[in-house]
């Protein structure tokens, strides 16, 4: 999977979780950019991303990731393994 493909899939997951088809995620997108992305939705988002890619984030990654770019880094790393 290329990075573009990861972002494309992530975009779908974000649109689905936040129920908003206008969302377009970029490398630097953070929780501040999406209105409903609070701590509650963060965990739902993580669960949805894990399911979509068939991966598992560690608790450390869940709390430490700063933006969508970092999320994509972790996903890319795990898919390669």
């Amino acid at each position: 999977m290329t990075r573009e493909e990861v972002f494309e899939t992530l975009n779908g997951v974000f649109q689905d979780v936040f129920d908003d088809e206008s969302i377009v995620v970029k490398e630097e997108t953070t929780a501040d950019d999406i209105e409903d992305w609070d701590s509650l939705e963060h965990i739902n988002l993580i669960a949805a991303v894990e399911q979509e890619f068939g991966i598992k984030f560690s608790m450390g990654q869940v709390v430490a990731m700063k933006n969508v770019g970092e999320m994509a880094d972790i996903i890319m790393g795990q898919i390669k393994d």
Binding site: D19, D38, S39, L40, H42, I43, N44, I46, A47, S58, M59, G60, V62, V63, A64
Partner: protein, 511 residues
């Protein structure tokens, strides 16, 4: 030495430490702070109880060393489990065992049993146990999760766990963010020391001038609430809200300011919480370090357990995506808020007033949000107008105050009786006809209290637009000195203190 940052002896102790801190070689500063921290804990009358935080640090050190030395997942998990068991075990036994016993006895009594089923224990609880335990727990979990660097030196771990400014009343620290700076050399910086001292002065203003005055009114009414019904309970509760806020946030100003004079930045614990527009926002601005801790180490892990994942799936299937998701989070939040409540103390009044009641507010707020939105649309009220915002701030303050009645009342039963009286007795006239001056503050004292509260309000409003100290710094030197000296004299003249005067303890210190 009393365990209070406002005592004369403590200020002597602190001045001595600060002087020596910048005179010794910088590499040894952290060692000196560790000695100072141990001395502080011993001098504040804890004596042998110092063994508890020391043992907690030793537990952290041991667990972290095991984790650092192996890649074996099983071993790491065992080290984590053992450390959590020891630390949480000590906290539960020392702080909560009597809560369990009281609850069992009360349940037995309701079922018709005579006398007490089980006798209560009489433990000496080490000061600050809830704060240092949480700081240390977070560190161990972060090392396990690979986001904090494991510390190799036991004495450095001990300084992180027992750092004297924050051990008694927080803020709860995060090693991965705050840890390393404790051990770095800190050269003397005029700006950092003066900024720190200025913040301490502001903390003294909050605690000695405002909190101590509010304390008098609160005690008068809460210690004898049958004699002060209706509106007296309202006024005393509002006073308590300001007492608790100025007491706790004032002590944080002293702690963070003091720490800043050592060149160590601690996390903020308050962000003008009474300006919050809803309860969720309030908890992001009141006791921030506790909220962050709870979110990271209780709420997230809970939602990621298999049990909650499965439950989420089932509920989504049954109630649809949106409702299902909502129900799962409400359930996890119930556990979260119970934990937040009980953290404040092993008593149902805390579990309700600082926990479950807030859960109820948030859940009902979420459920009723669509209804309120429709009402606003029908009445064509602009949801973004300043008036609506103002209403929301007042509503949130009111809801928080109901929780404070439980927090301050002697028991849950007393809190319920007081709330009933507050709603049932209408006597605002009495209060306005001079009743307000029978609560322990005469006319002059009341004026001082109101002026001081207005000053606090003005500074809080200014703070919304950035650091007040930085703005003062840019003013001409004469103005700056006049301002800080005026505040200092205001505190000296009007603060409740003195060698024989024991300020009410920091309320959060017992936790």
């Amino acid at each position: 030495m009393p365990a209070s940052f406002t005592s004369f002896y403590f200020l002597c102790f602190y001045t001595f430490i600060l002087l020596i801190y910048y005179l010794i070689p910088r590499k040894t500063q952290w060692v000196f702070l560790l000695f100072a921290s141990a001395a502080f804990y011993l001098l504040t009358g804890n004596g042998l109880l110092i063994l508890y935080p020391a043992a907690a640090c030793l537990t952290a050190y041991g667990a972290v060393r095991v984790m650092a030395g192996t890649e074996d997942v099983k071993k790491r998990r065992w080290a984590l489990a053992a450390a959590l068991l020891l630390l949480i075990g000590a906290l539960v036994v020392l702080k909560y065992i009597n809560f369990g016993i009281y609850t069992i006895n009360a349940a037995a009594f309701l079922c018709g049993a005579q006398g007490e089923m089980i006798g209560v224990f009489d433990f000496l609880v080490p000061l600050g146990i809830s704060f240092y335990t949480f700081s240390i727990l977070g560190y161990i979990v972060d090392v396990y999760n690979g986001i904090a660097k494991p510390q190799k030196n036991f004495f450095k771990t001990a300084l992180y766990g027992m750092y004297f400014p924050s051990i008694l009343s927080g803020p709860i620290l995060r090693y991965r963010e705050d840890g390393e700076q404790f051990f770095e050399p800190h050269p003397f910086g005029y700006r950092q020391v003066t900024f720190g001292l200025q913040r301490m002065v502001w903390g003294f203003f909050k605690t000695l001038v405002i909190s101590e005055r509010m304390n008098i009114v609160v005690n008068t009414v809460y210690d004898n609430y049958t004699a002060y019904p209706g509106s007296y309970i309202w006024i005393a509760t509002i006073c308590f809200a300001f007492q608790l806020y100025t007491n706790f946030s004032g002590s944080m100003d002293i702690v963070l300011g003091m720490s800043q004079t050592f060149g160590i930045r601690l996390p903020e614990n308050f962000e003008t919480p009474f300006f919050s527009k809803n309860i969720s926002e309030y908890w992001r601005r009141w006791h921030i370090s506790l909220g962050v801790w709870m979110k990271e180490y209780v709420f997230y892990p809970l939602l990621r357990t298999n049990m909650f994942m499965e439950l989420g799936k089932k509920l989504r299937k049954k109630f649809g995506k949106k409702r299902g998701k909502q129900l799962t989070t409400f359930l996890a939040m119930l556990i979260l808020w119970f934990t937040v409540g009980i953290w404040h103390g092993g008593d149902w009044k805390f579990v309700i007033g600082s926990g479950l009641l807030h859960w109820f507010y948030i859940v009902s707020g979420e459920l009723l949000a669509p209804f309120f939105r429709k009402c606003m649309e029908k009445l064509s009220i602009d949801a973004k107008s300043k008036w609506v915002d103002g209403f929301r701030v007042l509503r949130t303050f009111f809801l928080v105050n109901i929780g404070f009645v439980f927090f301050r009342a002697a028991s849950t039963t007393d809190a319920c009786r007081m709330l009933a009286s507050a709603v049932g007795v209408w006597n605002v006239g009495d209060l306005l006809r001079g009743g307000i001056f029978t609560l322990g503050l005469d006319v002059i004292e009341t004026v001082i209290a109101i002026v001081s509260l207005l000053l606090l309000l003005a500074v809080s409003l200014l703070h919304q637009k950035g650091s007040v100290r930085e703005r003062i710094e840019k003013k001409p030197v004469l103005f700056r000195f006049a301002l800080w000296y005026a505040l200092l004299f205001y505190i000296i003249l009007l603060g409740h203190y003195g060698p024989d005067y024991s300020a009410a303890e920091f309320i959060y210190q017992g936790f």
